[in-house]
């Protein structure tokens, strides 16, 4: 196995869940989260030789994931309308029983995120992934202060939407 392939494997191992979480928010019919996940992974592989280490690898992965997801949602990528399924990526339902209440709560969270605009959605998914404002700023290209101001408003809106649903 080559060095780049090892890096790629390690990168997927560490990031696959966070990529999938973002894809679950952005996937819109007829594109499934699994399709979007595959496209993100493909773009990561394609861009990996150009990774210069100017940002952390996590920041870089988030940037690609968000850009691909947004591109798909805005139908900027005509090719992605006909998605290719890669047989080497397998999605299986988790063996451990999924808590139906957790799924219900996630459904509410997704509904509330859907009420936000595209810009706020991209920030909130990073915030929920416990990314620092500094890193969110690096991923989005906004200033740290701007992210903080935006987050204050987004958090309020999100809490107001979800609190009555999950309580």
């Amino acid at each position: 196995m080559s060095n780049s392939q090892e890096t790629f494997e390690q990168l997927l191992k560490e990031n696959k869940h966070k990529i999938y979480r973002i894809c679950r928010i952005y996937a819109a019919t007829p594109i499934e989260p699994e399709d979007l996940f595959q496209e993100v992974v493909f773009q990561i592989w394609k861009s990996l030789p150009n990774f210069k280490g100017k940002s952390s690898i996590d920041t870089w992965v988030y940037r690609i994931a968000l850009n691909v997801c947004l591109r798909s949602k805005m139908k900027l990528d005509k090719n992605n309308q006909k998605t290719t399924r890669f047989d080497a990526i397998h999605f299986r339902q988790a063996t451990e029983t999924i808590d139906p209440f957790e799924e219900e709560k996630f459904k509410y969270l997704k509904e509330c995120i859907a009420t936000l605009n595209e810009s706020d959605t991209s920030i909130v998914v990073l915030y929920l992934d416990e990314i620092s404002y500094k890193e969110i700023a690096e991923i989005t290209g906004l200033s740290e202060n701007h992210v903080a101001v935006k987050m204050k408003r987004i958090r309020k809106k999100l809490f107001e939407c979800i609190a009555p649903k999950i309580n």
Partner: protein, 213 residues
């Protein structure tokens, strides 16, 4: 409290699926996809350029064969125009393939917006850079056609194909005019229906990103 609960819901949301990846196989599949994508791009380039190359060949033949000086001159203009179209297509394709998805979201949107603005300009100005020059060279070509016997010229195929009489000339110019108007219209429709909505969407997201409220 609520904040932590939301983060927990979020983190647990990826536990619904077990994702396993066979990296060796995946890399092979990606290689195949890349080859297919490159093949598609090559085919598209060939398709776009072949029409112009065919035009260059035809008008080179006309320039060599036809004796009428004005028509000959228009053939050279047409060849130049076809070469310009090839350059324009190649430039546009190069720009479209310059996507860098690892840029920060804001920069990525700016980059995409520039690409779309270029595409929009190209479509909206098709009348000036595509249709206009082509129609003018065709017009000169047709007007320049004279009487073959004045030049001791005989070429049965060319004589049958070319509009040599006044009526045939007028009919051909009008026909070409309609075709070119249709091309302008199709380009305008593509600009309005395909490019402009995406551009508006990008501008909206840019506005949302820049606003603090």
């Amino acid at each position: 409290m609520l904040e932590q609960e939301l983060k927990n819901i979020w983190n647990n949301s990826s536990k619904t699926a077990q994702i396993s990846i066979e990296t060796d196989r995946l890399v092979m599949e990606f290689d195949t996809k890349m080859t297919n994508v490159q093949r598609k791009i090559r085919k598209r380039d060939i398709r776009e350029i072949s029409a112009s190359v065919f035009g260059i060949l035809i008008f080179s033949f006309f320039a060599y064969e036809i004796p009428f000086p004005i028509t000959k001159f228009s053939c050279f203009l047409s060849i130049l125009w076809f070469a310009y179209v090839i350059y324009k297509f190649r430039q546009s394709n190069k720009q479209n393939s310059s996507e860098n998805l690892s840029l920060p979201l804001k920069e990525q949107l700016t980059h995409k917006k520039q690409l779309l603005q270029y595409q929009l300009k190209l479509l909206n100005s098709a009348g000036y850079w595509y249709v206009g020059p082509s129609f003018i060279t065709n017009f000169i070509f047709i007007i320049g056609l004279g009487n073959p016997t004045d030049y001791n010229w005989t070429n049965q195929i060319a004589e049958n194909l070319l509009p040599l009489t006044v009526n045939a000339k007028v009919g051909t110019i009008i026909g070409l005019g309609f075709i070119y108007l249709l091309v302008i219209w199709v380009n305008k429709i593509a600009a309005r229906k395909e490019v402009q909505p995406i551009l508006k969407n990008i501008e909206l997201i840019q506005q949302q990103l820049n606003n603090s409220n």
